[in-house]
């Protein structure tokens, strides 16, 4: 009887060990996934800000203007798509600081004068693009920092 009890103990300890290792591994994978998502989003924000401010500073006769216009439009689409598909929890609320900042970035990227062939350069909008891009990066990193805890990941996985 004692021998059987010992076997049970071994099995229980092994089970607990396996479950713990699995939970830790699961958390690490989720954390890395989040981290990679933050990095992708911030990289895209930087890219959009660069293209946007270059577009707004471009002179009317500059032959690159058409290309930059298309580039800004494309980056805006990617920004909207990545933000919504990869980070649904963050994007769910318009009041989320990161969502608000990215909305403001998108406003500045394609505001008045966009698609207007003969508009003069607009340094104010170029600055605004950079400003909201910086704020978006800070807000996105802050929002995700709060999502990296074990508790936050469990809640996310369980859909709470």
């Amino acid at each position: 009887v004692n021998e059987v009890n010992e076997w049970y103990k071994v099995l229980i300890v092994a089970g607990i060990g396996y479950a713990s290792a699995f939970a830790i591994q699961w958390w690490k994978v989720s954390r890395d996934e989040f981290k990679s998502g933050i990095d992708d989003l911030c990289k895209l924000i930087d890219e959009a800000a660069h293209a946007g401010s270059e577009y707004w500073l471009t002179a009317a006769e500059d032959p690159r203007r058409g290309f930059l216009e298309a580039r800004v439009t494309g980056l805006q689409e990617r920004l909207a798509g990545l933000h919504f598909t990869a980070f649904k929890r963050l994007a769910r609320s318009q009041r989320n600081p990161a969502v608000e900042c990215i909305l403001n970035l998108m406003k500045a990227l394609t505001w008045d004068g966009f698609y207007v062939a003969d508009r003069p350069p607009n340094p104010a909008l170029a600055r605004e693009v950079q400003l909201w891009a910086s704020r978006s990066v800070v807000a996105a990193r802050s929002a995700f920092a709060g999502s990296l805890s074990f508790r936050a990941i469990i809640r996310k996985k369980l859909g709470l």
Partner: protein
């Protein structure tokens, strides 16, 4: 719903659906008609104002479908939807009752947020720059 113009889909007894890509263009432009083709101002004057007026008189609801285009300039969205209030066509209360947006593609949901924000922030006789 007989008064609904050709090209605009009837959804049910009380909904008039305007799909921007199908009914207007797949490539929306900038803010004003003078800026080029398919501007927000043109969309507002040609589609939105008449349809919303019809909807109000017939106690219907207008749904704007944003899917299917090659993206939107923020100036287009602001002029089309914010302009409804700013230019004095309708007040916020009427629009909240008679107008809503629909977006199913993930990235388009962002434009929906933008359009809703422009609409809610617009005030009658305010200038564009005040809200920029």
């Amino acid at each position: 719903m007989g008064a609904v113009a050709t090209g605009v889909e009837e959804h049910d007894m009380s909904d008039v659906v305007i799909n921007i890509a199908k009914d207007f263009t797949k490539s929306p432009g900038g803010r004003y008609m003078k800026d080029g083709s398919f501007s927000g101002e043109l969309f507002r004057e040609k589609f939105l104002v008449p349809k919303i007026r019809d909807a109000i008189t017939q106690s219907n609801h207008v749904i704007i479908e944003l899917d299917g285009t090659f993206g939107y300039a923020s100036s287009f969205l602001d002029e089309a939807f914010g302009g409804l209030v700013r230019e004095g066509y309708f007040d916020q209360k009427t629009l909240s009752k008679n107008l809503s947006f629909r977006a199913t593609e993930p990235h388009v949901k962002y434009y929906k947020l933008l359009a809703e924000q422009f609409l809610s922030e617009a005030t009658e006789n305010s200038s564009v720059r005040e809200r920029a």
